[in-house]
Assembly symmetry: D2
C-alpha cells in the first residue's frame, strides 16, 4: 500500500497538514557516508520558488532519526522526518462539501467513510514525495558514480522552447489556470542484466513507481507510443559491438524487461494541477446541485516543474533495488565458511 | 520476480519450447463455478489464426490440476497447465551466436551466463501469457457481472480504419516486416474507492501488470500524454451527480490513484514484433563483426493483434486484487464469535 | 527485513541510543477512535520498574504524527514516534573490542562491517519493541471487544509460584546474574477460519512474529513439546458441539493452521538477559585473547518480566492481519456499482 | 498464503486426491547442474515404507517441466510436478458429516463454505510437502558443499533409545493408535552474518517455515525452553576465538537473530498423527450428536518418522534465501559499466 521495493524498501507516511511527513528506508547497505546536508540538494530542486510554483514556502529540512551513525549508514532502517510548518488549514474546510474536480477529495471521503484528513489533500498531498526525494538521493549514492540519472522538462503546455514555456506559464498564472508537462529521464552507466523477466521487468517496476507520483498520467519507454507506428525493421536496434551497444536506441535501453547496457530513456506525462482559482462548475453536496467553485489556497500553476527530481528519485530507487537483486552472489561460489 | 498480486496472487512459469507453461493462482475465493471449458473463450481470442499472426498453431488446451473440485473453486491454489506441442527447436540455435535485434536473446544470455533456454525466446516467450489469460478469465468471474472489461485495437501501424489496418498488415507480411499497434481498454461498473494511495494506486498496479506483457512500451490513463498539453480548466472533470459521475472523463476514472466510479480508460502501446525475416545488420559473436541476419521461424507480423485479451486479463487481475483488498471488513464490525 | 504483515503492515526503526525509535503501521482501517492516551496503558506494562528490571527510566511517551485526525484513524499510514531520552552512551564503547557473550555485538559488527551503531545494542535493543506494543494496542482495537488476548508469566528461573519467582529474582540481582522465563498467552473470541493453509498458518505467522522479539528461544502451541509424548487417542480433541467446541484443547485452538473456534493457547521461552555484571571470560579482539568481561550499564535481571505485553501485541497484530484477510468479501457478492 | 521466501521463492499447490501436487521455485540461480534423478534421494527419505508409516505407496516421481535446460538451471522459474496415483477417494466421503478430531476437516469446511476438496485432507495433506522436499534439495545445491544440514529423530513417543522407539511404534500400530516425536536439526558451515534483525531473523523465518509443516506444534533453538530455566552466567556462550567460535552453544548458533558462525541447532515437536483407527467420540453433524468415529484409510502411525527430511528441506530453503540476501553486493562496489 504505502510501501515499495524488495531489497531497498520504502515506507512513506504523513499528511499535508499533519505534524510530519517522512519515510523509512529498509535495506540501505552499511558504510555509505551520509549527512542531512547531502539530502538538501535534491530537496531544494523539488522546492517551490520559480514562477508557476506555489507561494507556500516550507524549509523542507530533512531530519535523519535512525540508520546513520558517525556519518555513515549503519545497515539498520534509515528514517527521515520533515516537519510541516507553513500550514493554513482554514483554506480547505469548504472542500468537504464541494470536492475539487480532478482532485482526490471525493474518492478519499468515500473510501475512508469521511474519516480522511482532508486538509490540503491530506495523505494525497505532493508533500509525501519529500521522503521519496530523500530516498532517491540515498539510492543514487548506493548505485555509485558509474550510474548517472538525469531528467529534464521536455514540454510545458505543449511548448518545447524555454521562452515559450515561460510565457505560457505566465499566461496560465494570470488566467488563474494551470498547465501540464512532459518530463524525460535518462540513466546511463547501467550494466547488462538488471531487471527480471515479467513482473519485475525494469518497465514494470519503474512504471509502478512513476505512476505513484501524483499527477502522472502516462509513461513510455524508448520510442514509446511512437513505436506503435513504426515497422520492426525501423524499430529494432542493431547490436554493433560485443558489449551490446546498439546503433539506435528505440528500445530505451531495455529488452525483454532487462537492461541491455544502453541508456535507459523514458518519458512521463504530468497533467495540469487540478487546484485552480479559475471558477469551475461542480457538485455541491450540501446544496445538492452543481455550483461554481473557486479553489482558494496556494497552488502550483504547473506542478510538472517540480517533478523532474522526483522522477529521478523513483528511477534511482528502482534501479538500486534491481541492482541489489541482480548482484546476488550464489552462496556456493562464496569462500567456504567455518562451522 | 515471476509472481504478482497481494490477495489474488499469480506465479507464472515455463519456456516457449519446454514441456509446459502454466500458472498458479493463490487467493481465488471458494465456491466459484469453473470448468476448463470456460477458460477456452479468452484463450481462443489470444490464439493465432488471423492474417498477421504466427503460423505456429497450438491447441492451447488448459488443464486445471488443482484448486477445483466438483465444478467449483475450492479456496486452495488453482493451477492451470498448458502443454507445448508444436515446437521446432532447430529454428533457433543460430541465435545464440547472433542475437536478434530488439529481442531478449542478448540480455538473457548475459544475465544468466549462457544457461538460459534460448529456444524460441525461452522464458521470454509470449506463450507465458497463456496462464495470464486463464487467470484473467477467473478474475473476471470473481469480479462478477457488474464489472465489464473490454479492450480493442485502436491503431495498427498508425492506421485507425479497419480496412487500412488490414491493408497495412498485408503489406508488412509481404515485406517480411512487422507492425506495432495501440490497444484501448475500458472497465465499467467499478465502485468508488478501489485502489490505495501511492504505491498501490490503480495506475501504479495496472501499469506494473501491463508493462509485464512482452512488447508493451507505453501506457497512458484517461487523456494521458494529451493531458500534458491541456489546461487545468479543460482537464478537470466536473462532478455532476452525488454518486461522483463526471461530465467529462479526462482522468480515465481515477483520482488520487483511486477509482471514482466513472469508466476506467487507458491505452497501451505495443511495439512491432522484433522477429522479422527482413534482413537486418547486427553483431555476430563468433565472427566478431556486424553481419546480416535473417530471422527464420514462425512469427507474428503484428503481435498487437493478439494483445487485447491479455490487456483485459491483466486489468481483471489487478481489479480483482484491489477489490478483494478494498472489500476488507473490519473484524470489529463482524458478528461476535464464541471462544 | 524490518517490516511484517500483509494487510496490517508494520515497519519498525530506531536504535537504543539514537534520537528516536518508532513504527509506521499501514492498513489501519479508517474510523477507529484513537488517542496517544490510549496507547499508554500497554506501554506502561512494558516499562521497567519492578524488581528485576532495568533502572534506566524512560518516559516512553508515544507521539502520533500521522494517520489520526479528529480523534480517529484516517486510513492513511499511522506513525508513532518515541524519543530516546535517558541514554548514557559512555557505558558501551568498550564492547566494540570485547563483544558481550550472548548478545548481538559480535554479529552486528561482522554483518555491517563495523558501521553498526553499537551503543546500547543499537538496532538490536529491546527499545524497538515500543512501536510493536503501540501497534498491538491498535490491533486490539481493530479486532474489537469480542476478541480477548491475555498473556502472563508462567515460570521465572524454573519457578512457578509467585513467592518463589520473586525470591529467585532477588537472588539473581544480588549475584549480578540474570534469569529466563516462560510466558503463556491465550486469545479467546476467535471465529472458526482465521489463518491460511501452509505458509500463512496461524502457527507459522505467529511464531514468525514471536521469534522476532529479542530473547525468545522457543514457541509451542497447545500441548506443544508434550504432544510429542502423547498418543493420538490422548491428543486428539473430540468435537462436542456443532460450533466446533472441543472437549479438550491440546491443539491450542488451531487445526491445519486455522483457528477452530476454541481458545488459542501458546507458550514462549525467554532466555536469561545476556548483559550481566557477573564476570565472564570471553574474547578480547585488541588483546587477541580470552579475558574477563564485566558488563556495566543498566540492565534487566529478568527481561521475561517485560515480555508478556509484547507477546500480546504480536498476537493482536497477527490476528488482526489474518482477520482482515479472512473477512475479504468476494466482489461479486457486493452490491452492484454504477459505471 | 501458499508462497514463501524473498529471493528464493516457493509457490506450492495441489490436493491429496487431485491430479497433481507441485511447486514453482522462483529465484533459483542459473547454472546449477540438476536432474530429476538428483531429486530422488531426498524424496525417497520422505516416502513411506518403514513400520509406522502408511501402507499407501506412491512412486513420488518428480517431473521438472520448466527452469532446467541442458542439465542446468536456467534462472527462470523451476517447476516440479508429482502425479497422485494411488488414491482411494471412497475412503473419505463420510468425514464430511463427522469431521476427524485433530484434523483440518472441520475448519476447512467452515472456512471455504463446504467447497473444499475433502478427499484425503485435500490441500491440508502431507503430500503437499513433496514439492518442499524437492525445493530443499535444490536449495542445498545452491548453498553448496560448505553448508551441511542434517536432522534426525530425537524422540518417538517419549523414547530416545532406538529399540524402545521401535517397540513403542509396534505397540501403537497394534493399538490402532499413533505416536508423536521430536526432530533435531543441525546446520554447519554457516558464515557469520546470515539473517536480518527483527522480522527476518533466522529464528523468525525458520520457525515460519517449520510451523508450515503439518503436525508441527513446537520449535526451539539452542537450549530453547531449557534456557528459560538457566541463569545468564550459564546460558551465555563465551567467545573463544576471533572467528566467533564459542565455548558452548546454548544460543544454537544465533545471536540477535543472526548466524554467529557456530552450528545452527534446533528441535521440532511433531504431534501424533490425528487419523487413527482407534474409536473416538466426536460430533456427527447429520445426527446432531456426539458419536463414535473409526477413521478408516491408510495412515502413518507415526508421521514424525517422515518429517526429518522435510525439516532439512525447510532449513535449506530459509538459509538459501538468507544467503542470497546476505550476499548482496553494493552496486557501487561492482566494476563500472558502460553507458
Amino acid at each position: 500500500m504505502n510501501s515499495f521495493g524488495r531489497q531497498f524498501r520504502l515506507s512513506i507516511f504523513g499528511e499535508s497538514h499533519g505534524e510530519r511527513v517522512g519515510i523509512v528506508i529498509d535495506g540501505v547497505p552499511a558504510g555509505i557516508p551520509l549527512s542531512e546536508e547531502e539530502l538538501r540538494a535534491d530537496l531544494d530542486r523539488r522546492r517551490a520558488g520559480a514562477k508557476g510554483t506555489t507561494p507556500r514556502k516550507e524549509s523542507d529540512e530533512p531530519h535523519i532519526v535512525s540508520g546513520v551513525f558517525n556519518g555513515h549508514t549503519t545497515g539498520a532502517p534509515l528514517t527521515v522526518l520533515f516537519r510541516n510548518e507553513n500550514t493554513r488549514s482554514g483554506d480547505y474546510s469548504n472542500l468537504v462539501t464541494q470536492p475539487r474536480p480532478g482532485h482526490a477529495d471525493f474518492v478519499a471521503r468515500e473510501k475512508w467513510h469521511g474519516y480522511n484528513d482532508y486538509r490540503g489533500g491530506g495523505h494525497f498531498s505532493g508533500r509525501i514525495t519529500l521522503g521519496v526525494v530523500a530516498a532517491g538521493t540515498i539510492a543514487k549514492k548506493v548505485l555509485g558514480e558509474a550510474v548517472h540519472i538525469e531528467s529534464h522538462i521536455l514540454e510545458i503546455g505543449g511548448h518545447t522552447a524555454p521562452a515559450e514555456m515561460e510565457a505560457a506559464i505566465e499566461q496560465a498564472v494570470k488566467a488563474q489556470d494551470s498547465l501540464g508537462g512532459i518530463i524525460e529521464c535518462q540513466a546511463t552507466g547501467l550494466p547488462v542484466g538488471w531487471g527480471e523477466p515479467f513482473f519485475d521487468s525494469v518497465e514494470a517496476l519503474l512504471s509502478h513507481a512513476l505512476f505513484s507520483i501524483p499527477a502522472v498520467k502516462g509513461v513510455e519507454f524508448g520510442s514509446g507510443f511512437a513505436a506503435a507506428r513504426m515497422r520492426g525493421s525501423q524499430h529494432n536496434d542493431p547490436i554493433i559491438a560485443p558489449d551490446g551497444t546498439t546503433g539506435t536506441n528505440h528500445a530505451g535501453g531495455i529488452n525483454g524487461g532487462i537492461t541491455n547496457g544502453n541508456p535507459l530513456v523514458f518519458r512521463v506525462a504530468v497533467k495540469p494541477t487540478s487546484s485552480i482559482a479559475h471558477p469551475q462548475q461542480t457538485y455541491h453536496f450540501a446544496d445538492q446541485r452543481v455550483e461554481e467553485l473557486v479553489v482558494r489556497g496556494r497552488h502550483d500553476a504547473c506542478i510538472a516543474l517540480r517533478v523532474p527530481v522526483i522522477v529521478e528519485a523513483m528511477t534511482a530507487i528502482v534501479l538500486c533495488d534491481l541492482a541489489l537483486t541482480a548482484n546476488l552472489e550464489t552462496p556456493a561460489t562464496t569462500p567456504p565458511a567455518r562451522g
